[in-house]
C-alpha cells in the first residue's frame, strides 16, 4: 500500500542547514520518493548540509551506508540521521553520523578559562558533549564530562577530556604536531593530531587515563603514569 | 485438534469465542499488512494464474491465512477438475 501522502517527505530549513523528515510506510518507496525529490532540485541541494529524520524506520548498515553514499554522490553532506529506533541510531553512530541536532542552551554554553597567568588560551566546557555537539576552538579545549559518539572537538591546541572520550577529536588542527589528546578513558571513534590520523585499538580491561601524542610520525597512546610525573 | 475442545466442560458459544475468532483474523491481517480486500484480489489473481496451466474446480478452492506460532502461512487448497485423459498413440 504505497503512501500517497505528500507528507511522506518533508523538508525544512533549520539553523544548521536542512532537515528532511521521512514519514511512515514502505522504506524502499519512501527512499525512491526522497531521491526523486532531491534529484529534481539538484542545484538547490548541491553543497547543502542535511540532517535526515527517519522517524520509526529500522535501518541497518547496508541501508544507511547506501543512503549516505548516494547523498555524497549528489554532493549533499549528510551529517546526521535522527531516529526513534535504537537499531537505526546505533547504526548511524557506528557510521560516524550524528544522531541529534542539539545545540546547547546559552546558559550552558562554552566558557573561557579565566587565568591571570601568561599562558595560552583555552576553553573549558563543563558538560557531557552529546552526539551532534561540535566544539571548534583556536586554542586548547578542556572538557569536564564525557564526549559521546557523534560529538566532535576541533582544536588548534591540545584536547583534555576529564571523562570518557568516544567522539571525534582533532587536536593541533592548524598543523601543530606538538598537540596532545588526554582522556580518562580514551576511546575516540576518530583521533587526529595535526595531519596524522590514529587507529584506536580496542581496549581490554578497565579504562585508564591516557595521553595520545605524535611520536616518530605516528600517534601513540601512553598511560598517564602519575607516579613518574616528577621526571 | 478442534474436536476434543468442544467436548470440554463449559460453553464456548459465549462472547469469548467470538473474540478469539475475530482476533485470529485481525492479527493475521495486521501482521501481513493485507486487508481482506487485498486477500480477495490475491486469491483471484492466484486462481487466474493457476487456471492458465490446469483446470481448477473454482467452487472447491480454499485459500486462507493461518497462524503458526509467530509466523503466518498462506495455505491454498486448489482441487483440479477431473483428470483429462491423455491421448495415447
Amino acid at each position: 500500500m504505497a503512501g500517497t501522502s505528500q507528507l511522506s517527505v518533508q523538508i525544512k530549513g533549520i539553523r544548521d542547514g536542512l532537515l528532511i523528515s521521512i514519514g511512515e510506510g514502505n522504506w524502499a518507496d519512501l527512499q525512491d520518493r526522497l531521491f526523486g525529490h532531491i534529484q529534481e532540485r539538484a542545484n538547490f541541494f548541491k553543497g547543502a548540509r542535511v540532517a535526515l529524520d527517519v522517524g520509526n524506520h529500522i535501518l541497518h548498515a547496508a541501508e544507511l551506508g547506501a543512503l549516505r553514499d548516494w547523498f555524497s554522490d549528489q554532493e549533499v553532506s549528510l551529517w546526521a540521521v535522527l531516529s526513534n529506533s535504537p537499531t537505526t541510531e546505533a547504526t548511524a553512530q557506528s557510521l560516524g553520523l550524528a544522531t541529534r541536532l542539539s545545540i546547547p542552551k546559552p546558559d550552558r554554553a562554552v566558557r573561557p578559562l579565566d587565568t591571570n597567568l601568561a599562558g595560552e588560551s583555552a576553553v573549558l566546557v563543563q558538560r557531557t558533549l552529546r552526539s551532534g555537539f561540535r566544539v571548534a576552538f583556536a586554542g586548547h579545549v578542556v572538557v569536564i564530562g564525557d564526549v559521546n559518539p557523534g560529538a566532535e572537538i576541533i582544536a588548534s591546541g591540545s584536547v583534555v577530556v576529564w571523562g570518557r572520550l568516544r567522539g571525534v577529536v582533532h587536536a593541533g588542527a592548524d598543523g601543530n604536531e606538538e598537540a596532545i589528546v588526554c582522556a580518562l578513558d580514551l576511546m575516540p571513534t576518530q583521533l587526529r593530531i595535526a595531519s596524522i590520523i590514529a587507529l584506536t585499538p580496542s581496549r581490554k580491561g578497565k579504562p585508564d587515563p591516557e595521553i595520545a601524542r605524535v611520536h616518530n610520525g605516528q600517534v601513540v597512546a601512553e598511560p598517564w603514569n602519575y607516579k613518574e610525573r616528577g621526571k | 485438534m478442534a474436536g476434543w475442545l468442544e467436548r470440554l466442560p463449559f460453553s464456548r458459544t459465549k462472547s469469548a469465542n467470538k473474540a478469539k475468532e475475530r482476533l485470529k483474523l485481525v492479527l493475521i491481517h495486521d501482521r501481513t499488512d493485507l486487508t481482506p480486500h487485498m486477500m480477495e484480489s490475491l486469491k483471484n489473481e492466484l486462481l487466474g494464474v493457476i487456471s492458465r496451466y490446469v483446470e481448477i474446480d473454482a467452487e472447491a478452492v480454499r485459500i486462507s491465512m493461518n497462524q503458526d506460532g509467530r509466523e503466518q502461512r498462506l495455505v491454498a487448497d486448489i482441487p483440479l477438475r477431473g483428470a483429462t485423459r491423455r491421448r495415447i498413440g
Partner: protein, 267 residues
C-alpha cells in the same frame, strides 16, 4: 555484579505495565537483590506514585541525561526496602530529550553496581517505547485478556523482534476467573495461542491492587494477596526458578491440558 536490564512494555495503555514494574521490582528487592527502577515515560509520571515515593523527587531522568545532576543524586531510595531505587520520569514535553543511546549509556553506568534494572516503558510504539527497549536484556509484554490489548500486544511483539530485542515474554494481567467461567473472557491459553510467545506470569483481577496503589504500598509486599503472590512468582521465574502457574490458571481447565500442545515453537 552485572545487572540484567528488564523492560516492561505493552502497546496499549492501562493494562498494568507500571503496576507490574513496581511489583516485580519490589519482589526482587525483597529477596535481597539490588534493584533500580526507571520511569521512562516522557512527560507523565506514574511509577513514583505506585511505589509511594512521589514526594521525594528532586531530580529526574532527563536531569541525569542532560548532565544537570549526577546519576546517584536522581536515585530515590525506598525506605521499606533499602536495596530498591527509583529514577523518576521527567515532566517535560520535549519528546526528543532522551534518545535510545542515552538509555543504553545510563544502564551501562548502572550495570556494575546493581542486580536488576527495571524500565517502565510508556504506552505506544513511538520514541518512549523505543528508548525503553534499547538497553534491554529481557523485554516483558503485559496484556489483558481483551481484544484491543491483545492486538496491540501483538504489534509490540513484532516491533520488539524487528529491533532485535526479542523474543519477548508475556504477562497476562487482570484475568477474571468468573468471566472466564462464563465464557465471556479470553482464557490465558487463548491469549497464549494467539500471541505465541513464552508466558512468564498470569495475574488475576485483584482489588488489592487498587487498594495498594491508593496507599502507595505495592501489593507484592503482601504475599497473601493473589496478585502479590503472582508478582513474587514472576520475580522467581525471572531468576530462573521453575514456578508452576497459579491454581487459578489450572482451574480453568484448559491450561494444563493444552500447554504441552500449544507451547510456542511447536513440538
Amino acid at each position: 555484579m552485572t545487572a540484567t536490564v528488564l523492560t516492561v512494555t505493552s502497546g496499549k495503555g492501562g493494562v498494568g505495565k507500571t503496576t507490574t514494574t513496581a511489583n516485580v521490582a519490589v519482589a526482587l528487592a525483597a529477596s535481597g537483590l539490588k534493584v533500580v527502577c526507571i520511569d521512562a515515560d516522557i512527560g507523565l509520571r506514574n511509577l513514583d506514585v505506585v511505589l509511594g515515593l512521589e514526594n521525594r523527587i528532586v531530580y529526574d531522568l532527563v536531569d541525569v541525561i542532560e548532565g544537570r545532576c549526577r546519576l546517584r543524586q536522581a536515585m530515590i531510595r525506598d525506605k521499606r526496602l533499602p536495596e530498591l531505587f527509583l529514577i523518576p520520569a521527567a515532566q517535560t514535553r520535549d519528546k526528543s530529550a532522551v534518545s535510545p543511546s542515552d538509555m543504553v549509556r545510563l544502564c551501562d553506568d548502572l550495570r556494575p553496581d546493581y542486580d536488576w534494572v527495571l524500565i517502565d516503558s510508556p504506552a505506544g510504539i513511538e520514541r518512549g517505547f523505543r528508548n525503553s527497549i534499547a538497553p534491554a536484556d529481557i523485554v516483558l509484554v503485559v496484556t489483558n485478556p481483551e481484544v484491543s490489548a491483545v492486538r496491540d500486544a501483538d504489534r509490540i511483539i513484532g516491533l520488539i523482534e524487528a529491533e532485535e530485542k526479542g523474543p519477548a515474554r508475556l504477562i497476562i494481567n487482570r484475568l477474571n476467573p468468573s468471566l472466564v467461567k462464563r465464557g465471556d473472557m479470553l482464557t490465558a491459553n487463548d491469549v497464549l495461542e494467539l500471541l505465541a510467545i513464552e508466558l512468564i506470569g498470569v495475574i488475576p483481577e485483584d482489588e488489592n491492587v487498587v487498594i495498594s496503589t491508593n496507599r502507595g504500598q505495592p501489593v507484592a509486599l503482601d504475599h497473601k494477596t493473589r496478585a502479590g503472590q503472582e508478582f513474587i512468582n514472576i520475580s522467581r521465574r525471572l531468576r530462573g526458578e521453575k514456578v508452576p502457574f497459579s491454581e487459578l490458571a489450572e482451574k480453568d481447565g484448559f491450561f494444563r491440558k493444552l500447554s504441552r500442545v500449544l507451547r510456542p515453537g511447536g513440538n
